[in-house]
Amino acid sequence: MAGLIGQKVGMTSFFTPNGDVACTVIQAGPCPIVAIRSKQKDGYAALQLGFGVRKSKHLNKPLAGYFQKQGVSPVRILREFRLSEEGSYEVGQVLDVRMFEEGDFVSVTGWTKGRGFAGVVKRHGFAGVGGRTHGQHNRERHPGSMGSNTFPGRVWKGKRLAGRYGNERVTIENLQVLKVIPEKNILIVSGSVPGPIGGILLLQK
């Protein structure tokens, strides 16, 4: 089953008679099929989908040529979605949120917010070293001991330390579709989704 490319609009509450649910509003599609990869020709089955509108000033010549050849108006984002079976799709066909229904479960892929070089408390949930008093003045958020002494006499590989955090590709599975609004290309899913508002998301059933 093919997916859809979307953009995170933000989070809000979704009221039901049994209370309210935290939900994410996603603007998804319409996504034209820009190219079709086939097992025969490319070794795998997939659809290349487009999303958004690319202004002509952002269109370089190779890309312009590509869109012209495919007969699709230039899009901002191009992404491939693998298919398990080759289906009956055509280049230029447009997919939209109507492929999802209320109650469906979807996987949403996004890129998490980049947190830069983060310490061990933020990055790995360490508790830090003790409190502020008892003569301590500067180790509240430190990692503490690195390991044992004579054995092994070194720091274990994989020891969790400070470093770059965030800005990774994350997929959240089984988010329930609460509502589909085809006129506005809007999809409401329960729960949260990776990335900032305005971030690009990939949705799959």
Partner: protein
């Protein structure tokens, strides 16, 4: 909050948007009619107390109501548009000079009195 999000929020929750909420502010005494579901049965609980803050905007605005029950302070935070909030009655309007009355938490008995407000 973007316009689109605001619009969608109203669209998906249309059946629950309350347009008939009375106007009230911090310091006022209100009576909240709350639907309580327990053990599969529904009943209505009335919670009367002083509004100590209104928070948030649009559909996600909440109200914090405080009362002293049996010598113990009780506060409830209720989303104004929640389907569980059936009715809000304003019992008395009081004059206060701030939007958040957290200083009421330290008060008991006579110290809780406020002056009435016109309108």
């Amino acid at each position: 909050m973007s316009h689109l999000l605001r619009e969608i929020e109203h669209l998906i929750n249309a059946p629950y948007v309350k347009s008939d909420l009375p106007s009230f502010r911090a310091g006022d005494i209100v009576r909240l009619h709350l639907k309580i579901v327990e053990g599969g049965k529904e009943r209505i609980q009335v919670f009367e107390g002083m509004v100590i803050q209104r928070r948030g905007s649009g559909l996600r605005e909440t109200v914090t109501v405080r009362k002293v029950s049996g010598g113990v302070g009780v506060e409830r935070i209720v989303p104004l548009h929640s389907p569980f909030l059936l009715k809000v009655e304003v019992i008395r309007r009081n004059r206060v000079r701030r939007a958040r009355l957290f200083y009421m938490r330290g008060r008991l008995g006579k110290a809780l009195r406020l002056k009435r407000r016109e309108g």
